[in-house]
Symmetry: C2
Subunit: 417 residues, 2 copies
């Protein structure tokens, strides 16, 4: 599937052996999302035994159709260390943005093709409820040919899930945009999920272009009180079956996960996915351990994401401070990406010598008050530099403690030499 | 020690029975820091079985001597839900700020009296190394009489700790300001820690004014690579002995803890403190699970603080984005307090019905897109309101998904009624 020289580079970046990388790919414990129609500068491997990766969502909408603004967000996300980007454009014409991303981005690109299909159906037939599978299929084909690296496919939400939902109240209902579109479509058309019925056909396309499938969690909890409920678990079981289908076709696959989970259920959720989905890489949105932090959900998400990654989640989706409130701006993107990087790095430093060393090095420079050497090692040196306030330009202490700087006092004691 | 009517109010706020509160106080599992020279509007109980509390540090320094700026920070911290404040003034004249806080604050106040003692010694004798115990004692007495509610006392750092530090390299050395001052003093004067030698005398004063002792961790790790090392553990053992001394005198006591701890050692650190310090309430600074996030250490701290509180830490010290870089401004204070509140609430919602219900309620309103009802339930309604962008003033969807709002689509499906 991939050339040896290509894999060698990835293994080198991950600080693992080529044979380990090959083994993990062979055993479906990891994926490298990369459409075979193109090359990118920074391909990544996502899965067990590799560094935790993070994804940033961008995208235009009918209310925010500014493509260049989204491209700026992409650049900021890459500067701050995002490993992948998803274009979640909906409402507006998404193809212009997507083509620009494919042309310019150095990191893998994912999409949720049902969004564009819904918009196209609306244009053609007046509403997304009138969307045919043909319309979905044309979108999938177009995006595959253009060079999208991974598709979120919501094949796990089924007619019987909706029956269940009718009879079992949930606080948040369905918060997945793709899930909501499909639920509405199924109810209006009284038909089964077309992404489930046509899954084999979709896999043939994915195989042809080496597109990785990211199995969407349409029924993820959108409120703490819905966490780990029967709906969520039933969908996970469907996804577990679909994972096997992917593997039988030789298609790379990962599984998407919640969402909103209380602290005491995060470990269980990770273990459950690894068990029910046969060890497929796990891509989590959050999880948020509380619902009260609107405006600061990047922090809630960093908390949940850290714990999730610690227990085995492989891929973290960035949540920005704008989550639940508005379309994010470029500052929201930066705050969100850094929060997720903190989560990823906190886990990686336990597992990878180079990450541990990087972390130790910054503490070493900090103890010596070599400020200029610490900045390039921080996650966002632009902010760290702009924050740093020295007493005098010539001095090596900051305004926090002034001359009562503990580090400087200890320096005088000759305790550390 | 406390009147029944006073305790009844605290129990009511905590949603526990009066008898449970009394039992926890009797068994030294909890403290209520409150100087008997005064009353405050919002006293709090800190300890096992109660909601997780958070403390915010403010304070002037020779570089930032603006008292009114610090008072603004105090107000912002209280608005955002801080349960206590510590005045860590050093370098400048701290008594003006302290008196204002005592006069105006509705929450308990803590100090680190060695800071003022060091400044006074410097003024009087030219350097803090010339500080006599008399000078420390005068400071303690003055602050006690003024109405400080809890004192951080660094009695656990001993001469032999410094010997050990000389022979066993540490990345971060001593990062505690109080610890550094005392270490330097001990080395220059070739004497044992005066706060250790005179601990009984200090306890008599604490007893007289019902001041809670917060045993400082002068030897806490200031770098991940120093975490849970012999120095830290030896100091904890000394603190364990001092905890018993406090109890024998009838003085309320809590123990301060790290600092910088990797994720896989946080649980151990909490359990160790609870064991070695005989179940005394645990007050943690962070912990930060990574050292690379300068400019975003409120997020690292929220991650570590959540995990710490989950395993039993009772009191979280706010870390701001300015940590390691500069004296924080009012925005830093707000960001830091909210981050800590997220940590505390994420744990509290697992333990307290009212916190769970508050959390469920916001999700309920969110699912119904009753925006105005969600805001008062968020941690910072000012930010949530300012972030929220509706498509049209009359509409109930936001700019994130526009008309493809999953919640609105699901509403049309009649699945949740």
């Amino acid at each position: 599937m991939f050339k040896k020289s290509f894999l060698k580079n990835i293994a080198k970046k991950e600080k693992v052996s080529l044979s380990f990388l090959e083994k993990q790919l062979r055993n479906n414990k990891a994926v490298i999302p990369l459409n075979n129609q193109k090359e990118i500068k920074n391909p990544v491997v996502i899965g067990d035994g590799f560094k935790v990766k993070i994804n940033t969502n961008i995208g235009v909408s009918s209310e925010k159709p500014n493509v260049s603004e989204e491209m700026k967000k992409l650049k900021e996300a890459i500067r701050c260390g995002s490993d992948a980007v998803m274009d979640l454009s909906i409402g507006a014409k998404p193809s212009i943005l997507r083509k620009q991303i494919i042309k310019q981005s150095i990191i893998p690109l994912g999409t949720v093709p049902i969004y564009e299909a819904a918009v196209n159906a609306e244009k053609k037939n007046g509403s997304f409820e009138q969307m045919s599978f043909d319309c979905i299929w044309e979108t999938l084909k177009k995006q595959a040919q253009e060079g999208v690296d991974f598709f979120t496919i919501h094949s796990g939400i089924l007619k019987n899930s909706l029956e269940y939902l009718k009879n079992n109240k949930r606080t948040g209902g369905i918060v997945s945009r793709g899930g909501a579109i499909l639920a509405r479509w199924m109810l209006v058309n009284k038909q089964e999920n077309p992404l489930y019925l046509n899954f084999d056909k979709i896999l043939n396309l994915a195989k042809k272009y080496n597109i990785s499938i990211s199995l969407g969690d349409a029924l993820r909890p959108g409120a703490i009180s819905d966490s780990t409920d029967n709906l969520q678990i039933s969908e996970l079981q469907v996804l577990g079956e679909l994972v096997k289908k992917c593997w039988r076709k030789g298609v790379q696959v990962m599984v998407e996960g919640p969402g909103h989970i209380p602290l005491n259920e995060i470990e269980t959720n990770i273990k459950l996915e690894k068990k029910i989905c046969h060890g497929a890489p796990f891509y989590v949105l959050g999880p948020l351990p509380t619902d009260v932090a609107a405006g600061y959900d990047h922090i809630s998400s960093a908390i949940g994401g850290t714990i999730a990654a610690y227990y085995g989640a492989n891929f973290l989706c960035v949540v920005t401070p704008a989550e639940h409130l508005r379309h994010p701006d470029i500052n929201d993107i930066r705050e969100g990406v850094i929060a997720s990087k903190i989560a990823a790095h906190s886990v990686d430093l336990l597992r990878f010598k180079d990450e541990w060393e990087k972390n130790r090095k910054i503490s070493d420079y900090r103890a010596q008050r070599k400020w200029q050497k610490t900045f390039p090692l921080t996650l966002d040196q632009k902010k760290a530099k702009s924050y740093h306030q020295k007493i005098k330009p010539s001095d090596d202490i900051c305004t926090m403690c002034g001359k009562f700087c503990s580090l400087k006092i200890i320096d005088k004691c000759d305790l550390l030499k």
